[in-house]
Subunit: 431 residues, 2 copies
């Protein structure tokens, strides 16, 4: 059987998963594929740590360039991560016309325009299935399965750490800080969890989904990002009383005015499939103009699921090495002229939790401030008064512009009847 | 741009959807793909009915062979259905080495061995994404995305009519007959609904999923099929009390002894994602040895979703026309020597609803009969006595062999303390 030489850059967790997967399932993969991927070089700065998976032969080196340049290497797999060495090595491979498989969402979200342009120029394909959704074949679904669809919108849970924290907060009534600390101790959250809980990791992935859906790179600074740090358990509780669950959602939507990409903790109706996605699982809901609503669900991270997708991309790269049509042709601008929509122009419904003096006429002033900004109230939930002089009041609004809300809340939070800043969460009930 | 000639056989609902999709989204598809699929011939016995979508030029004929044989036709799309004309036309196309796109699960489930062998011999690819799950790109996920995985099991809701009926029965406490009648009036169920409600349609799709997962055609007579006809609303109610929902599941499982393929109404834990799949939606849960649990969800039927997948397959066929590697190579026997497992050997848990005399010692006799057959009881649910002398008692068992249950139930149903046949449903809590 014809062999395809693979060069692996980065022998960390996922890299070791790829090596192990090739050892265990490589024969089956080759039988299904018709060609046999063979590891011919592995690069990592750490030459000593035992990864628990043996390499065939003396193929580990700390010289990554030599692996990229090795003429036997026909497909380069970048699993280093970050935007430093990874960037120059990916470019080096593409420059030589070698297809690249990468799980590096950070690199592609920040430097996608440059890298995709280089890949197109050199007619070298770049496969990034493992950069979004770990083991979920969502990139492939968007690129191939839904190729005949204009993508109307995508709603996605893309960060397992956040979803794990939100699931436990809801199920056990625990505080954000408490669950984060436990998650860190259990290894589900990083010691420095900012990339996850502040929404940046989700935003990187959202940018890549938008790229596949609309064919152009959305700059990170056009993405409105809010994470879940400090989300109050009381909001999770009120949301549940109202028939919702809170999820950190990436939202990618097309309207007549353009494309919106945002990341926000959002209220999702409890009966919606996305609401049933719990723990470290990820899910991506895609609305296409022909297919309607589809959803893809699975483990969004982890050694084995991510390696599964990397191997799927290696298979694609190996299969396409002999083909006439470069695979990257399938990501072309399907929406030329589509504009990025600014956050202030976006219409949405909101959940507001206000801290109000418990006396007559107070709610009328709130309704007045919202009304002045063109926002009408859908429902009000007032529980028993708290111990102090202020009482929490939850207001659910109809749709309004984001900047109208910002203006109304500025007005409200400066009122003397308001005891503290208003908690504000989006309601995504059109997902 | 290079053009690829498409011949369409069958200008019915889905056929019209494909024509319409090409008209509306064909340019975008071509831009993404790098080649342009062009309809050069359409065959249907009905030349008169207005399908509401215009054809470019005088390309409609009632001579399907002439479309297959037309040298401009490079990809043949079979949307006739059934196992008559469709079979000979698919073979005619493959014989000429032309790739075939089909949505015909019935044909492939019944004659897959013959057709796949012919495709392999002629090195012509066969694409059948739309035959399972309508708009859900599940065939593609199994074939490509999860290519590096041994598939441990698949649990799937594959028939929208059944899921619609079950959803309404549960939500509204209605009887099977009542919902079926309404579904027929609303066009959600066929006038002759047997293929759907007796599980055969689901079984056809299960056979195709098993083929992709294990690389060999499972004969239909090795598939244990039970439908939902006559399912009692009382069982849906009891199941809910026990924390389950009832779904018609296709179950494909591999164990050391072989592969099991079955279709059964099953109790699924209410918190499981599959339980949240409601109405006409389909979902396929796939467990792979690397990726773990993944799920694919969407509309399992209908003009537009099915046409979306057919167009995705046309795109694949068009892309691969120039390639060296036939795509069908990816379905090869990954599990040579795997045996089909007989139904009697399968272990599962059961929900039993017995009609018992309301007097002491009765339950002990039931437990005795189960115990003699090696089955132990996990829990018993007894509600208030009914009006008559018999009372419904629900028994949930631990795992046991199917034939042990059959033997125990034969014994039980002949006891004088039993007022009628025992209702028996599988519990799939490992899904």
């Amino acid at each position: 059987m014809k062999e395809i030489g693979i060069g692996l850059l980065g022998f960390g967790t996922v890299g070791a998963g790829v090596v192990d997967g090739l050892r265990r399932n490589g024969e089956m993969l080759a039988a299904r594929l018709g060609v046999k991927p063979v590891l011919v070089g592995v690069a990592d700065l750490d030459l000593d740590t035992d990864r628990g998976v043996p390499l065939d032969g003396d193929i580990l080196t700390d010289n990554a360039e030599s692996v990229v340049d090795d003429p036997r290497v026909q497909v380069v797999v970048e699993l280093i991560g970050g935007t430093g060495a990874a960037k120059s090595l990916v470019k080096r491979a593409l420059d030589q016309g070698k297809p690249v498989v990468t799980a590096n969402k950070h690199l592609l979200a920040e430097h996608g325009a440059e890298i995709f342009a280089l890949a197109a120029k050199k007619e070298a394909d770049i496969y990034f299935g493992a950069s979004v959704g770990g083991g979920i074949p969502i990139i492939r679904a968007l690129r191939d399965g839904l190729i005949a669809n204009h993508i109307d919108s995508i709603y996605a849970i893309l960060n397992g750490t956040c979803n794990y924290i939100l699931t436990r907060m809801e199920a056990e009534g625990l505080s954000f800080d408490h669950v984060l600390k436990e998650a860190q101790e259990a290894g589900y959250a990083e010691a420095d969890p900012g990339l996850d809980i502040d929404g940046l990791d989700t935003a990187h992935k959202a940018v890549l989904l938008a790229y596949l859906a609309y064919g152009f790179p959305v700059p990170m600074d056009a993405v409105h990002v809010e994470g879940i740090r400090g989300l109050a358990e009381t909001d999770i509780e009120y949301a549940r009383d109202l028939g919702y669950r809170i999820k950190l959602l990436a939202v990618i939507r097309r309207s007549e005015d353009g494309v919106e990409v945002g990341v926000h903790p959002s209220l999702v109706p409890a009966e919606h499939v996305l609401a049933s996605v719990s723990g470290v699982y990820n899910a991506v809901m895609v609305y296409g103009d022909m297919v309607g609503q589809t959803l893809y669900y699975g483990r969004g991270a982890g050694r084995e699921p991510t390696a599964s997708t990397v191997l799927g991309d290696i298979a694609d790269a190996a299969r396409n090495l002999g083909a006439d049509l470069p695979r990257s042709a399938s990501v072309s601008s399907s929406s030329r002229g589509v504009e990025i929509r600014k956050a202030g122009e976006i219409e949405t419904r909101y959940y507001l939790r206000l801290s109000l003096l418990d006396k007559p006429g107070v709610l009328a002033r709130i309704a007045g401030a919202l009304g002045e900004n063109g926002i009408s109230i859908a429902s009000v939930l007032q529980k028993e008064p708290a111990k102090g002089e202020y009482v929490p009041v939850v207001v659910v609004t109809h749709r309004g512009h984001e900047k109208a809300f910002a203006s109304a809340l500025e007005q409200i939070d400066s009122m003397d009847i308001v005891g503290g800043p208003t908690a504000r969460l989006r309601i995504e009930d059109q997902a």
